[in-house]
Symmetry: C2
Subunit: 344 residues, 2 copies
């Protein structure tokens, strides 16, 4: 028996923040999961594992969805579960093909709710062009879950020449963000807290595999892709900076954001850089192709608000620094705790 | 909007029995999931989807584990989650290769418990020769889950010539059961109810991929494989009978069962035919090879108690009939409700 690598004196029990996508999540993953399961594929810590499988390069991913509430402005847990896993495969530079769906249902869930969620999943799968080919259903007693949790796993085929890895991020690469940030997190928050805004803010949940398909002709110029979900843009950029070994510099005024979302964040005291999205990605691309890639992205509805927001730099290795609109610079740190639990 | 295929007048809310592996589970799967997601692969309703994927025949499966308690005699939820998914791939006639692991953790779970479970998963993965290559961690508030739920999905490569399908089950095939039934269910029950037996009854959780590997040289003679889990032997045989269109006849006195388990079932009022197992399979094989296949099974520790328990027959189509030890016959029906909730 190896004693637990997180001593009781540090954390005795799992906290909500261990699931927040920030520092504690990383500690839990590294010390508990990677230390035991560790292998070349897992250690990459990308959202998908990519491997040669009988002469094909495949991507394989899993995600459990525990979003609360299960219905929210712009979507529901089922749609999110399909899009989220489609996106995790897509940002591995792969074409998602087959999905699994595992349901953990709390006794007492209205069957009508389940039906509506399943219909949404079917629509989302059709929209993304994937099939749900295997599944599982468990029911637990009332009070032992929270209405419904859904796990989706997925398998896809990596496009030729795509070699996506944060370790490929070298100084000089441009960072493109595919659209406005924060909509999903604020939509969940407003549903939870019964907030009303002048215009309803809806989740940006959307499949990104069409976008990645369009980008696949630039596969040699695209070094890294990542969907910007739990923990927001700040957390994703920090993870990439940390594992690349280089710094990332972004410009505040280039980051696209819906004015309503900006306003809601101000009212709620949230930093939009840390708010979750469910239909956005960042792409790290060769600088000389960045405008061309940007224009391809802008030509698609799902990424029409894309912008080049920054670059990889030699300075401040493993750190993300933002040039603010007033010209100063500030470090954008990884989130340490839990800004919005159960966002996905 | 299509209205819900299960009308409110029938069932308004999801019941525990909808997760029991019996009639209600089948109704939920058919009417809600299959009616929406339906496609050639899903419609097979095997535990794994099997498909041609760029010239390879792959198997893909998912299962969520919600067993309560998470530690039980002979194992824990982590070991179960690895073995269960390994077995679902194996009984598709495939060699499991890669697993995913998705954790839904209830806030407050001792990190030491998580660590012990993760170590068990690593050991189980090593024993089965599979790698856990991708994962996900979610944490929900105290009272919104029950300590820990784990989803594992898996990918495997189908052995040459294996063509496993309940539709291949024709009259004349022999039914081989790989070992004693009921140990897992009774082990869980005894942990839950603090029952004490003279000798501790422990879960039979075990990987079956070594057994299937040994059986792969008989791939042309083996028409159907299924692991005997939730709902027990009775439910699995009923599913196979229903989808084959033929009857299955079994002999009570041939069914291997631990005396302690038989005694416990009598005390608890349980029928061992409906009690879950986590390390057993049934094989439907050509009669003329049945003794040879049986002896291969008996030569392996995991299936040393294997027996030929019955055959596929023309009579009583879609029904399972048991010849009892006193010579009478009785219909072994599919479980309708929930004998032991949260067994896996």
């Amino acid at each position: 028996m190896i004693s637990c690598p997180i001593p009781k004196s540090e954390y005795e029990n799992v906290l909500l923040a261990h699931g927040g996508g920030g520092k504690l999540t990383h500690q839990l993953i590294e010390k508990i999961f990677v230390s035991q399961f560790g292998n070349d594929l897992l250690n990459e810590l990308n959202d998908s594992a990519v491997f040669e499988f009988h002469k094909n390069k495949l991507a394989f991913t899993t995600d459990s969805y525990v979003v609360q509430p299960i219905f929210f402005p712009g979507g529901n847990i089922g749609e999110l579960a399909v899009n989220g896993t489609v996106n995790d495969i897509a940002v591995a530079g792969a074409r998602p093909v087959y999905l699994s769906a595992g349901f953990i249902i709390e006794e007492g869930l209205p069957i009508d709710d389940l039906w509506n969620i399943v219909m949404s999943m079917k629509n989302a799968a059709d929209k993304a062009g994937v099939k749900i080919v295997t599944g599982d259903t468990k029911v637990v007693e009332k009070g032992k879950a929270d209405k419904l949790f859904i796990n989706t796993s997925g398998v896809g085929v990596v496009y030729d020449n795509f070699n996506i890895s944060s370790r490929n991020c070298k100084p000089g690469l441009s960072v493109i963000l595919s659209g406005k940030i924060g909509d999903h997190g604020i939509a969940i928050m407003s549903a939870r807290e019964n907030l009303e805004f002048e215009t309803e803010i809806v989740s940006d949940t959307a499949p990104l595999n069409g976008l990645v398909n369009a980008l696949s002709k630039y596969s040699v110029n695209i070094k890294m892709l990542r969907d910007v979900t739990r923990g927001g843009l700040a957390s994703v950029l920090n993870e990439i900076a940390a594992s690349s070994g280089y710094g990332i510099e972004i410009e505040e005024e280039k980051i696209p954001i819906n004015e309503q979302v900006r306003g809601a964040c101000e009212i709620l005291g949230l930093d939009p850089l840390y708010v979750a999205n469910e239909g956005k990605l960042v792409a790290f691309v060769d600088d000389e192709k960045s405008e061309e890639i940007l224009s391809v992205m802008k030509s698609l509805e799902v990424s029409k608000d894309a912008e080049i927001i920054g670059k990889v730099v030699d300075e401040h290795p493993q750190r993300v620094v933002m040039r603010t609109s007033i010209g100063s610079k500030r470090i954008v740190d990884m989130i340490s705790g839990e800004q919005l639990p159960r966002i996905c």
